[in-house]
C-alpha cells in the first residue's frame, strides 16, 4: 500500500508542477469564463430587443406574455402558413405558434426561428404557458368544487391535479420557409455538456496515462521499478495519480471559472442583474411554500425570463445528475485509462499507438456522434443500448439522465460499467505486464492475444 501511494504521489506531483499544467489551469477558466461573461456583457449592453410574434390559435394566451427589456411580444391573427412565409421579412426573432386544440387545454407549442432561440426565451414562454394553463385548470377545479359542494380538497392534492408540463418544440426556419429541428432545451444542454466533459476528460487524461507508460518504457526505467513493485501496482498507481491530476484541474477550473464569472459580472452589471437575482429568489421561495402557490402564477407572470431558467434547472434531478456524473466520470476514466495504459505498454513509441488506439477511440467518438440522435430520442432502444454498453455508457448515459432515466436502468448501466472496468483492467494488466518488458518488437493484435493468454 505504501508503495502504491508513493507511485501515486510521484505521478501526481511531477504533473502538477509542470508548466503546462499551470498554464492550462489558468487558461481554461479564462476561456470558459469569457464564454459565459461575454454573452452576458453583450446582452446587457445591446439595446436590441428581440421581437417574438405570437400566433395563438387558442386565444388563451392573448396578452399574457409580458414584454421585458429583452423580449417584446406582438400577436398575429393570420394563419400559420402565411405567418411562416412572412417570417423572414418581418424581422422578428422568433415565431411562437400555439396550435388549436379541440377538447384539452393546449400543452404543445412550436417556436420557429431562423437563429437559435435562447434558453431564456423558450423557458419564459414555457413558464408563462404552464402557469396560464394551471390557472385555467385551477379555476375549472374550483368551479367544480363549488358546484359539487363536496368535502374540501387539500391544497397539495389540488396542486397535484393541476400540475402541467408544457412541451415546446423549437424548429429552425430557413430562408425559404423550410423547417428543421434545433434543440435548446436546458436538459439537452446539460446532458451534452456532461457527456462532452466526460469525453474530453477520458481522452485528455487517458492519453496522458498512455504517454506516461511510453515514457517509462523508452527511458528504460520500468524494469528498475518493477523489481520493487508489482507491474499492476505501477499501472494502477499511474492511472490513479493521473486521474487525481485531472480531478484537481477540473475542480480548479470550476472554482476559478465561478470566481471569475462572479467577479466580472458583479463589477460589470448594475442593479439590473441584481434585480433579476432577487426576483428569482422570491419565485423560488414561493415555489416551495404551498400556501402561497395559489398566487404564484400571477407573480410569475411579471417575472423576468431568467426565472424560467431557474425553474428549468430545478426540474432536473440534481442529486442523481451529480452523483451519476461523478460515477460515470470516474469509473469511465478508470476503465479507459487501463486500456490506454495497455496500449502504452505494448508499443515502443507514440508513433506506433495508432493501430491500437482505433478500437478505443471508436466507442468514444461514436457516443459523441450518437449524441445528436440520443437527445432526439432519449428513451429509444438505441439510446438504451448505448447507455448500457460499458464502453459508451459514460458519455451516453450522462446525455440521457437530464431527460429522466429510470433508476433501474441507471443502476444496470453502473453495474455493467463496473464489470467493464474490472474486465478491462484485468485484460490491460496482462498486456501491460508483458508489454513493458518487450523492447523493439513490432506488436500485432495476434501478439496481444498471446500475451493475454500467458499465465
Amino acid at each position: 500500500m505504501r508503495k502504491i501511494f508513493l507511485i501515486i504521489q510521484r505521478e501526481y506531483l511531477t504533473r502538477v508542477r509542470k508548466r503546462s499544467f499551470i498554464v492550462m489551469t489558468i487558461l481554461g477558466p479564462l476561456l470558459m469564463a469569457s464564454t459565459i461573461v461575454i454573452p452576458i456583457y453583450l446582452a446587457t449592453r445591446s439595446n436590441e430587443t428581440k421581437k417574438v410574434a405570437v400566433l395563438d390559435e387558442t386565444g388563451i394566451f392573448y396578452e399574457k406574455f409580458k414584454d421585458s427589456d429583452e423580449i417584446k411580444f406582438h400577436y398575429l391573427t393570420s394563419d400559420i402558413g402565411s405567418a411562416k412565409s412572412n417570417f423572414t421579412k418581418s424581422g422578428d426573432h422568433a415565431l411562437l405558434y400555439i396550435p388549436k386544440t379541440e377538447v384539452t387545454l393546449p400543452v404543445n407549442a412550436i417556436i420557429y426561428s431562423d437563429k437559435s432561440v435562447s434558453v431564456n426565451i423558450t423557458s419564459y414562454i414555457k413558464n408563462v404557458m404552464g402557469k396560464q394553463i394551471e390557472e385555467l385548470k385551477l379555476q375549472a377545479r374550483l368551479r367544480e368544487l363549488q358546484t359539487d359542494k363536496k368535502e374540501p380538497v387539500s391544497v397539495d392534492d389540488l396542486l397535484r391535479s393541476i400540475k402541467t408540463s408544457v412541451d415546446i418544440n423549437t424548429l429552425k426556419i430557413g430562408e425559404d420557409g423550410s423547417e428543421s429541428k434545433s434543440y435548446t432545451e436546458l436538459n439537452m444542454v446539460l446532458g451534452m455538456f456532461a457527456g462532452i466533459l466526460i469525453y474530453f476528460f477520458i481522452f485528455m487524461f487517458g492519453s496522458q496515462v498512455m504517454r506516461g507508460v511510453i515514457e517509462e518504457k523508452t527511458s528504460r526505467i520500468v524494469e528498475v521499478i518493477i523489481s520493487s513493485v508489482k507491474p499492476f501496482q505501477l499501472m494502477m498507481g499511474k492511472i490513479i495519480g493521473v486521474g487525481l491530476v485531472g480531478l484537481t484541474q477540473f475542480l480548479l477550473w470550476v472554482v476559478l471559472t465561478f470566481a471569475i464569472v462572479t467577479a466580472v459580472t458583479a463589477t460589470m452589471t448594475s442593479g439590473e442583474i441584481k434585480k433579476t437575482a432577487t426576483e428569482q429568489m422570491m419565485i423560488q421561495k414561493q415555489g416551495i411554500t404551498p400556501g402561497n402557490s395559489q398566487d404564484a402564477p400571477s407573480t410569475n407572470e411579471s417575472s423576468n425570463p431568467m426565472g424560467g431558467v431557474m425553474e428549468a434547472i430545478n426540474s432536473v434531478n440534481f442529486p442523481v445528475m451529480i452523483g451519476a456524473f461523478l460515477f460515470f466520470f470516474l469509473v469511465g476514466y478508470l476503465m479507459y485509462a487501463a486500456l490506454f495504459a495497455a496500449i502504452g505498454g505494448a508499443v515502443d513509441s507514440e508513433a506506433d499507438t495508432q493501430q491500437f488506439m482505433l478500437p478505443i477511440t471508436i466507442p468514444l467518438i461514436l457516443s459523441i456522434v450518437m449524441a445528436q440522435f440520443i437527445i432526439r430520442d432519449p428513451d429509444g432502444p438505441v439510446s438504451f443500448w448505448f447507455s448500457i454498453f460499458p464502453l459508451t455508457s459514460p458519455v451516453v448515459m450522462m446525455i440521457r439522465i437530464p431527460f429522466g432515466v429510470p433508476y433501474m436502468e441507471i443502476i444496470l448501466s453502473m453495474v455493467l460499467l463496473l464489470l467493464g472496468f474490472l474486465g478491462t483492467t484485468w485484460l490491460a494488466g496482462k498486456i501491460y505486464h508483458t508489454g513493458i518488458l518487450m523492447y523493439g518488437k513490432k506488436v500485432s493484435y495476434r501478439e496481444l492475444w498471446k500475451w493475454i493468454r500467458y499465465k
Binding site: S219, I226, S227, S228
Partner: protein, 312 residues
C-alpha cells in the same frame, strides 16, 4: 552454503521454451556469472529471480526457504535495459527509488547523502537527469541499486554503457561488495570480466544449463594438456626430437625465437616435454595453455549444438 538456488525452473512462452529445467546454486558472498549467448534465457531467469515474472515450474530457494514477495527489499537489481526518469531531478529520483525499495524517507535521505558525498556528486542532487552524461547517469543508477544494502545483487550486463575508467571503478565496487559479504549474480557476454570477477559460473544455452560450477574447476576440466614453448638453436622439424604422440601445431617464429604449441598425451607431463627438448634446443619459456572463458564458452556452445544435431 548457497544463499540462493533455483531448482528445475521451467518457463514456457506461447511457442518458445525460455527455460527448461534450469538449476543453479549461488554460494553466499561470492560472485556468480550467468553466461550464455543472446536469447539463451538469461534475462528470463533473472526476471524470475526478481519475481517480475513467475516460473511455470520449479522452486526458488533464498536464505534456506522459499523466495517470498517481500524478499525483493533485500535484493538489488540492475537490469540490462535501464534508465531513469529524464525530467526528474537526481535527488528526487533517488529518493523515490530508494523508498520503493522499502526505506523510510529519513533513512533514504541519510544514506543517499552519504553516498553522494562519497562519490563527490553532491552538486548533482538538484539537476535533472537529462542534464547528466551517460556515464554520470550510470553512476546514479548503480548507486540506487545498492542503496538499500541488498544481500543479493543482480547485475545484467553491468558494464555496458560504462567507459573504461568507470567500468574499472564499478569492478572495484563489485569486488568491495563481495568482501562485505554481498552475494552477486551477474550476467554478461564480456568474458574478460567473468574471468576477473567470477567464482562460479553457469552457462545457459537454448534454455538449458550446459555448464555449471566453480570457475577454477571448469577451467581444469577444459584443459587439454597443451603447452606453449619458445626456443631457438634448432632449425630442423620439431617433430623429429619429440615423441610421435606429441602433437605440434601453431608453429611460428620471430627475430629471436621459434614458438610452438604442443599437445601432450593424457599420461605425459611437462617434464616429459622438457626432457625431450633439452638435448637439442635452447628453451626460453614454457607455459601451460589454460583455456580462456571465451574458448570454453565457444566450445561448450558449439559442442552442445553438434550434440543436439546428431540425434536428428
Amino acid at each position: 552454503m548457497d544463499l540462493f538456488s533455483a531448482q528445475l525452473i521451467s518457463k514456457q512462452y506461447a511457442n518458445h521454451k525460455a527455460l527448461d529445467k534450469v538449476s543453479i546454486g549461488v554460494p553466499e558472498a561470492s560472485i556468480f556469472g550467468l553466461l550464455g549467448p543472446n536469447g539463451a534465457g538469461k534475462t528470463t531467469l533473472i526476471r524470475i529471480i526478481n519475481q517480475i515474472i513467475a516460473p511455470d515450474e520449479g522452486e526458488l530457494i533464498y536464505n534456506g526457504r522459499k523466495l517470498q514477495p517481500n524478499d525483493i527489499s533485500s535484493i538489488g537489481y540492475l537490469p540490462e535495459e535501464r534508465g531513469l526518469y529524464k525530467k526528474m531531478t537526481v535527488g528526487e529520483q533517488a529518493m523515490y527509488l530508494a523508498q520503493l525499495k522499502g526505506l523510510s524517507k529519513q533513512e533514504a535521505h541519510k544514506r543517499l547523502r552519504f553516498w553522494f558525498e562519497k562519490y563527490e556528486i553532491n552538486t548533482w542532487w538538484n539537476r535533472k537527469v537529462e542534464e547528466l552524461s551517460k556515464g554520470m547517469q550510470q553512476k546514479v543508477q548503480f548507486l540506487v541499486t545498492i542503496i538499500h544494502d541488498p544481500k543479493l545483487l543482480i547485475f545484467d550486463e553491468p558494464f555496458s554503457g560504462f567507459d573504461p575508467i568507470n567500468a574499472n571503478m564499478l569492478k572495484e565496487e563489485i569486488l568491495g561488495l563481495k568482501d562485505k559479504g554481498v552475494t552477486i549474480i551477474f550476467s554478461t557476454h564480456n568474458m574478460g570480466s567473468v574471468e576477473e570477477l567470477c567464482d562460479d559460473i553457469a552457462l545457459i544455452d537454448r534454455s538449458k544449463v550446459i555448464l555449471n560450477g566453480a570457475m577454477r574447476q571448469i577451467k581444469k576440466t577444459y584443459k587439454t594438456n597443451t603447452f606453449e614453448i619458445s626456443f631457438n638453436s634448432w632449425e630442423g622439424p620439431l617433430q623429429g626430437i619429440l615423441p610421435e604422440t606429441f602433437q605440434i601445431f601453431d608453429e611460428s617464429r620471430d627475430a629471436d625465437h621459434r614458438h610452438a604449441h604442443v599437445k601432450l598425451p593424457a599420461d605425459a607431463t611437462p617434464n616429459d616435454l622438457i626432457r625431450s627438448l633439452l638435448p637439442s634446443v635452447m628453451i626460453y619459456s614454457i607455459n601451460e595453455l589454460i583455456p580462456s572463458m571465451n574458448d570454453i564458452f565457444i566450445e561448450a556452445v558449439t559442442q552442445k549444438n553438434q550434440q543436439t544435431v546428431i540425434p536428428n
